[in-house]
């Protein structure tokens, strides 16, 4: 009898499995409790305006959210993050079992899932898809996230067995990544490039038409395995770079959803008749990153002094217009294993001056912060921090560079301070913690060159630890130490800002930033 001690709370899996197999018709009730009721109305085209268009729909290599959130309406991974972003639930998969030595996962698939072209989804497709994604590791794709996978073997049409190289607790979360979405084996006989000109998936929508840089339209997938869904006939994403133009188009009823209204007009949108503005819980964390290779940021007291000197409430009011909460930890409240009791540096001028006195530059120093030009939020943060640091004798010059130039400077270590942030791609902290604290985790600790062996060890242990309680303790300790080290000065957790017309119902954005359009319907 296999030991069902899976990483996820036992109850939920069985409940999820029962629910899905038992009453498919009722649709996925889990997690949509807080949405308005009313019976869904079929039909209509949903128009979503965004600042930039999708650049590619190849989920295995594309890196920008604009492309990801469109493509994941076509192709779905085996598992899906829950609406609260904390757990993973089976989606086109039935469930899975893990062997005692935690090295072999046996995933069973639903037998009623078909691709939009009518072909049934089988284990062969799953094997092909995951292996295709893993291969992209050597061409700059998301493959490096699958490096824990060893072999995939097809047992029968609805069962596939995956061996992992070492006990790897985030495995199921990795399977829920968009990059592991399921495509027909051998791309249905065409070349990869041809396939991605009009990709086929098991998702709620099928390929429509793409006018690059202008609009992308997907149409209803008649063979979607969740019967009766999606309600919409089609979805169109339009490209409207100017935030002000998007807002005015929404007020004019020209579009249904404005992807990212600016915080300054969020409150005015909220009380505009016919408009619903919602701040969805996110896994977004914004912080100041210090380059420990550039003096004096190798001195922990300098970093702590700056962390204490920043008035987070003031930032939230001035930049987010009150829509945010001060950040106390590396992890975001929306992420599993976030510990709200971790005490990170908070705004305290006296402590800041004390820390600076103990540092290698007691009477202050001059430095600079590199930000992306054209990004109003970063410009605002930088200007407020500049005036706050001036109070404790730190003269910080603002260096706005063109976004890619800034990124190049940061990645090549040519910066003092910079403003960065992170959103989770899967309901597991491992991707972010490894990227942030482990120097050879791929990004020299988020390019800060932070190197604390104790923290690195904690992170590796957590990666291997399957017992949730032990894993939680490890992550709490990790959050506490990184907070004290202040290798990043955490600023705030800000929600995702969305605005829709009141005719849009059941539109919900998960903490990972994606949204399930199969539940959305337009009422008159």
């Amino acid at each position: 009898m296999k030991n069902r001690s899976s990483v996820l709370p036992m109850t939920l899996i069985t409940v999820g499995a029962l629910l899905l197999s038992g009453c498919a018709a009722a649709g996925n009730a889990a997690g949509s409790a807080d949405r308005q009721g009313g019976d869904p109305v079929a039909g209509g085209d949903l128009v979503i305006a965004r600042s930039a268009g999708a650049t590619s729909v190849d989920l295995t290599t594309v890196h920008n959210n604009n492309s990801i959130f469109v493509a994941d309406q076509i192709m779905e991974p085996l598992f899906m993050g829950t609406d609260d972003g904390k757990e993973v639930k089976p989606w086109p998969a039935e469930g899975y079992e893990v062997s005692d030595d935690l090295l072999t996962y046996t995933v069973t698939l639903r037998d009623d899932v078909t691709f939009s072209n009518g072909d049934p989804m089988t284990a062969d497709d799953v094997k092909f898809s995951i292996e295709a994604t893993t291969k992209t590791a050597d061409t700059g794709g998301w493959g490096y996230l699958n490096e824990g996978i060893d072999t995939i073997t097809v047992i029968d049409d609805t069962t596939v067995q995956i061996m992992v190289k070492y006990p790897w607790s985030p495995f199921i979360a990795v399977l829920s990544l968009f990059s592991n979405a399921i495509v027909p084996a051998n791309y249905g006989g065409v070349s990869a490039e041809e396939f991605y000109e009009a990709p086929v998936g098991t998702g709620p929508f099928a390929w429509g038409e793409w006018k690059k840089g202008q609009s992308l339209k997907l149409v209803k997938n008649e063979n979607y395995w969740q019967k009766g869904k999606p309600y919409l006939d089609s979805v169109t994403w339009t490209v409207v770079p100017d935030v002000n133009t998007r807002k005015l188009q929404l007020q004019g009823g020209q579009i249904d959803i404005d992807e990212a209204p600016d915080w300054s007009s969020f409150s005015s949108l909220e009380n505009t008749p016919g408009i619903v503005a919602t701040a969805f819980k996110s896994t977004l964390i914004s912080h100041v990153a210090f380059n420990q290779l550039s003096k004096p940021f190798d001195d922990v007291h300098v970093r702590r002094a700056i962390a204490f000197a920043i008035d987070r409430e003031a930032l939230i009011d001035a930049v987010l217009f009150g829509n945010g909460t001060p950040a106390n930890s590396l992890l975001n409240p929306g992420s599993p294993y976030y510990d709200k009791d971790v005490k990170g540096p908070t705004y305290d001028i006296e402590k800041a001056k004390a820390e600076l006195a103990m540092s290698s530059v007691p009477d202050g120093f001059s430095t600079s912060i590199s930000i992306s030009s054209g990004n109003t939020e970063q410009a605002s943060n930088a200007q407020i921090i500049q005036s706050e640091l001036a109070e404790i004798g730190i003269d910080m010059e603002i260096k706005p560079l063109e976004p890619t130039a800034t990124r190049q400077a940061v990645q090549s270590g040519d910066f003092d301070m910079t403003l960065t942030g992170w959103t989770m791609d899967m309901p597991d902290p491992d991707h972010w913690t490894t990227f942030a604290v482990d120097p050879d985790g791929g990004a020299k600790s988020d390019y800060t060159s932070y190197n604390n062996p104790e923290v690195i060890a904690l992170n590796k242990a957590a990666q291997r630890e399957n017992d949730p309680k032990k894993r939680a303790e490890l992550y709490t300790e990790l959050q506490q130490i990184t907070g004290d080290d202040a290798f990043l000065a955490y600023l705030y957790y800000s929600p995702y800002a969305w605005a829709t017309t009141d005719k849009v119902n059941d539109f919900f954005v998960t903490p990972l930033g994606n949204y399930h359009l199969e539940d959305v319907y337009k009422s008159e």
Partner: protein, 319 residues
């Protein structure tokens, strides 16, 4: 007439080094941009390993001369290369954006002429009279207003408050586009009309004061017939070159308007290409704009020759 058009082959030959120069300049300027395409594409979550892998795949690890050689080789075969960010042939992107920008540019040109010709005629009919001073004052104002600021104000007034027009965007049928492109075209028209008005006014004044108009008047011509037969064609000659140059400028200069009005034309394609370090697209768009400017230059000369029999471009070089 044909004999007088024999200057065209010469001009085309002369254009080759120019266009070649444009490709050279744009290629190296693009490569001077800080942050290479890999950094732009992979974004914040890039790891050095993935950056390196992508650079190899995009052929950015080749020496710069080899890359330029490859670019030219492809160019001669009419292949504009593959866009780094869209992973699609660049030609597809450019040919999709060209009609958008062309309809915007031509629409704004028509509006600009519709504004400029009457105003210039009014001003020229009474030099230094109040109406002339008023027209000249407004041309200075028009020239002084930043394009994007005019765009914002027009949106605020017409699109939001009066809801006459949509806020930017682009229709899918030509008729639809007249509705969508009216405000952006008007914005561009306002910014280019001053030069048209000034040129038309000054040439109309000089024509009205000319001896041949006095001759025409001595034959009893006046009002509309005089204007149509004698004044308009002579006054239009100097303005033709301005229209030509403005056309060239508009195609390359409407980036800001396309951003404010969310128009997916060459301008926004170029702006995104710069932000994304999408070299093939940058080169393709610049090449097209360069070619367009050269061709418009030749068309202007043809129009010039057609309008003014005195001009013979084969012989004397135009200063």
């Amino acid at each position: 007439m044909l004999q007088r058009l024999s200057f065209i082959p010469g001009r085309l030959l002369q254009a080759v080094p120019v266009v070649f120069g444009v490709t050279l300049v744009v290629f190296f300027m693009a490569h001077l941009l800080p942050g290479d395409p890999a950094t732009a594409i992979l974004g914040d979550k890039a790891t050095p390993a993935s950056l390196e892998a992508l650079r190899v795949q995009l052929g950015l690890d080749q020496p710069i001369w080899a890359q330029y050689g490859l670019f030219l080789a492809n160019l001669f075969q009419g292949n504009l290369g593959i866009s780094f960010s869209f992973q699609r042939p660049v030609a597809e992107l450019v040919f999709q954006a060209i009609p958008v920008t062309m309809s915007l540019v031509l629409f704004s040109m028509v509006l600009a002429l519709a504004i400029s010709i009457p105003l210039a005629a009014i001003a020229a009919s009474g030099p230094n009279k109040p109406r002339d001073l008023l027209v000249r004052f407004f041309t200075l104002i028009g020239q002084g207003m930043p394009q994007f600021w005019v765009g914002i104000m027009l949106i605020l007034l017409f699109a939001v408050n009066l809801r006459f027009f949509p806020v930017g965007g682009f229709g899918n049928s030509p008729l639809d586009n007249l509705y969508y492109l009216f405000l952006p075209a008007l914005t561009l028209a306002i910014s280019i009309s001053p030069v048209f008005i000034r040129s038309l006014r000054s040439s109309t004044i000089s024509v009205l004061g000319s001896d041949y108009v006095a001759t025409a008047r001595s034959k009893g011509a006046a009002g509309a017939p005089l204007f149509r037969q004698h004044v308009l064609r002579n006054a239009a000659i100097p303005t033709v070159s301005i229209i030509g140059i403005t056309l060239g400028y508009l195609v390359g200069g409407s980036i800001v308007i396309e951003k404010v009005f969310a128009i997916p034309g060459l301008g926004s394609l170029m702006l995104n290409a710069i932000y994304n370090r999408d070299f093939p697209t940058i080169q393709a768009v610049t090449l097209f704009v360069g070619l367009f400017v050269v061709i418009v230059g030749i068309l202007t000369d043809i129009a010039y020759t057609a309008l003014d029999p005195r001009v013979n471009l084969t012989g004397k070089a135009r200063a």
